[in-house]
Homo-oligomer: 549 residues x 2
């Protein structure tokens, strides 16, 4: 299976079923064979007396068009054919009969022969029944120069919105038709795709990048070879702007950026950025999307629609609607910037920081011990991880050594010293270990500041390490030495006793073969047997150095 479909013949009914199950719609009985969806709250003898009903539709495969645009302020209903095939005259006529009240009904039709004919005949038959029906044919595609019948593509969605807005305002049918037709004259669309659309059940086919394709898998008018999203957007923009310029149309524009089917949100974001950069914020005043608005099944491509940002269009397109697929009209602007506050805690790493001789000496011993342990720790790590545990510990030790030599660590005030070490480790040690140890010292500093007790502070730090790191004692990590050492201190035992507890804990990691977290989590059990965890070993050495006054 290469796509999430069931039987190819069921796709359309399944999609419409899902749409109708999650929106206030009513649908034609399935037995009728007609695919008609209508606003549940619409009553032709009630709202329909004063408000024009707006219907659209066409072949399926363009979802969210057209059912997704049904809602107050947009479509009254939609008629769907099968994939890429117009609905029948009978279906369109039944929909008109269902919604058309005294105020009349507007049909918004994309300019494809099948749609024109079937909607057209339905309109004529409805007129024969004295229903007041008008039609607007959308032909926004500019792909083919001087085309006698330009296709209707994504710009159709703008006509749905304008007509729906005007209808909601009580505008008479003839005026809505005129203004919808005027909108059609003012806009243009152009698409580019990297692949064809694949019908359910058929294999996907790669196609050369093509410019000026339709939404029914018609071949593009021109093969192109863009090297980047910027080039792709430029290739679309140039003929589109030329075509609009030939009609005396110019910006600032409302732009509709349409995902033709299977572009990722990331690609659409890059294309939107490219559009804004190439035309500028003063030219792209409003953006609709990027979003899949008028798709061609899973076609990997996009289309751009441009429309001058006149007041009437902006009003109509920014009016609220309950239609679930309308993405809204968003004003664009150069992003406002702020200067992020990235100051370090200068008190923690100050110049000429007060020095306590005994504490400084203890730190020196730890630094020496870690520097000396580098090769052994790397060797241990090579058996259970990527072999850089010693190097990583040494960078941390070096950073502390450098700050100590520069008298930037306040060894008189432990909370400040811990906070300073926390900053140094996160900045200079790197890796998960650096962040974890930084969490230990930073949390310990805050606790020490509040409560003043060293053993409690270290314990608070270790708890945070566990909370954020996700490891527990027994997982072959630093914790296997740290936790017993701190527990020893909390029992009021000496540093020497704590160091022994750390050593015992480190040794015990050699028997731990199941690692749930940390560096060893991805190593086979057999490789771990008999190997002390390098992090726990480093912790044992630190405590031994501290105890060795």
């Amino acid at each position: 299976m290469d796509r999430f479909y069931n039987a190819p013949g069921d796709v359309v009914d399944e999609i419409l079923h899902a749409a109708a199950a999650t929106a206030p719609l009513r649908v034609a009985e399935p037995d009728s064979g007609l695919r008609i969806l209508i606003r549940k709250d619409w009553n032709k003898t009630d709202q329909g007396r004063h408000q024009v009903a707006v219907l659209s539709g066409g072949g399926a495969g363009h979802e969210p068009a057209h059912a997704g645009y049904i809602g107050e302020g947009m479509l009254t209903g939609a008629i769907s054919g099968s994939l890429f095939a117009s609905p029948s005259v009978e279906a369109v006529l039944a929909a008109i009969r269902e919604v058309c009240g005294d105020a009349g009904c507007l049909l918004v039709v994309k300019n494809y022969t099948g749609d024109r004919l079937n909607f057209g005949l339905a309109a004529e038959r409805a007129r024969g029944e004295s229903l007041n029906v008008a039609m607007v044919i959308v032909a926004d595609d500019v792909a083919i120069e001087n085309a006698p019948q330009p296709r209707g593509i994504a710009g159709t969605v703008l006509v749905h919105k304008l007509a729906g807005y005007l209808a909601s305002q009580g505008t008479p049918l003839d005026e809505i038709r005129e203004r919808a037709e005027a909108l059609c004259q003012r806009m243009g669309s152009l698409g580019m795709a990297l692949s064809a659309a694949a019908q359910p059940g058929q294999a996907a086919t790669q196609r050369s990048p093509e410019l000026g394709l339709g939404i029914h898998n018609e071949t593009g008018t021109r093969q192109v070879d863009p090297k980047s999203a910027d080039e792709a957007m430029a290739l679309v923009l140039e003929p589109l702007r030329n075509a609009l310029s030939d009609r005396q149309l110019s910006g600032p524009w409302i732009a509709l950026l349409n995902d033709l089917g299977s572009c990722s949100t990331q690609e659409m974001g890059v294309l939107a950025a490219s559009l804004l950069r190439q035309l500028g914020f003063d030219q792209v005043m409003y953006l609709i999307g990027p979003a899949p608005l008028m798709t061609s099944l899973d076609m990997h491509g996009f289309s751009l629609t441009l429309l001058p940002a006149d007041d009437e269009s902006v009003t109509a397109l920014s009016a609220p609607t309950t239609a679930p697929a309308w993405p809204g009209l968003r004003a664009t602007q150069a992003p406002t910037q702020f200067s992020p506050d990235t100051h370090q805690d200068h008190e923690a790493l100050a110049d000429d920081a007060p020095q306590d001789e005994k504490t400084s000496a203890a730190l020196e011993r730890v630094i020496d011990a870690l520097r000396q342990a580098r090769e052994e720790l790397d060797a241990l790590d090579a058996k259970s991880g990527d072999g850089d545990a010693g190097a990583s510990m040494q960078s941390g030790a070096d950073a502390i050594a450098k700050a100590l030599a520069a008298r930037r660590l306040n060894t008189e005030a432990l909370p400040l010293m811990f906070a300073g070490i926390g900053q140094l480790l996160s900045r200079d040690m790197g890796g998960s270990s650096g962040v974890l140890l930084s969490i230990l010292f930073t949390a310990a500093a805050a606790s020490l500041d509040r409560r003043g007790k060293l053993d409690e502070a270290l314990n608070a730090g270790v708890e945070k390490m566990q909370a954020y790191g996700g490891a527990q004692p027994g997982d072959r990590t630093m914790l296997d030495a740290l936790v017993p050492a701190i527990e020893s201190l909390q029992r009021g035992e000496s540093l020497a006793q704590a160091a022994r507890a750390a050593r015992d804990g480190a040794q015990a990691t050699a028997q731990l073969v199941r690692a749930n977290a940390g560096r060893s989590a991805y190593v086979p059990e057999s490789a771990l047997k008999g190997v002390v965890d390098p992090g726990a070993e480093a912790v044992a050495r630190v405590f031994e150095a501290l105890a060795n006054e």
Copy 2:
């Protein structure tokens, strides 16, 4: 080029630029190297005094997460890393400093080591600055049974919404954290993909369908082989419901259906329908999506998140928000049905319809002429189209003959007869020609009914044919014979003269080599030279038959 990207290293900044250009956000100065986006209207000393700020973020590549969820009632801001990589501690801390006021700040973090550590250390450092920061870690993935650290995936979006809603209500930080954590305990998510995500600049790789993958391209926990969307959904539903059932959780559910990247709207619609069918409307009470909510670049897959539909969740998730990517919570229901009105105009095709002998005889002559012309018309059509013009005309003639024999056509009242012929042709003749001729007769009937003049009525019908069919005289269609014949009638000339005009028009089509519409539009010019258009020929024969009293 196989995807719409520029330089791979620019993707993240381009996407965020587009997001910030189309929403009321402010962003960290690009020179800072930090990717922070904040609600433009948020001021920590103003709203931040009484409302908790809610921050989220993580690696990029999951768009619209997280910037798309910034807005009133959802996130206050978001911090983005590079693709699939956590943002730095410095970036998270700067964001906290920017938004955190007296009410405090909640960090919503997906359960990945890098995010936990970097957000965690930033939180600890912020606490060291006396900022009131709490964190909730989302671990909704149920892919790995008894996983010590389940991953955070699409369910994270629900936590954004709940926390943002509670914050907007002035709920204190601790309570928001508790309720967000309670939400995390109540939900589960599971994904399936047909392809891996491809990093920009790297080739896409097909992967076997996999169940239980992460959003960073981690391999799934299990290879699967679904044959349909229904099977795919069932494969996701079973372990997901089991995992929730193990936690004593049961429906009715709120379901979030997430496109992991490059599913088409059609596939997502089919999956939504499948979900509704398999669980039923009483079990899926609310649906969020289907939409790309937490993506993994262009991964072709989906994930489903289930959460019991308790009142608190429904209230929080249905509250309004200005966040552009939140798709809303939609109640589901079995679609309401209506019986479409597909009645035929029974007056036009009645039993025992009054018969006018002369008109009936004229109709008989036309029927005979068309039946006799079948082979010749097919032969003409074989040179310029698909060779069925004669057969198509004969089916129309046969339908009329049958109705005439059954006395169902009212040949006494021309408006009724025309309306009846219109119905017969659209139903039984088929093809574009059937619809076009039906439009001619239907529109003519309406005009005749209103104004009573035959030549005017036929002209009105021909105008509609042109409007809906899109062809003009000179395009090698029926119009080339119809228009001169009707013009002749409008000049008050005899049927014989009109028939001659039709014949001349038909003959002239042999010289028309450029076809803009109709059957010949796709045929090379050389193939058309000297060939009379079969539609025009048929029209000429009809007028000749009418004149031949």
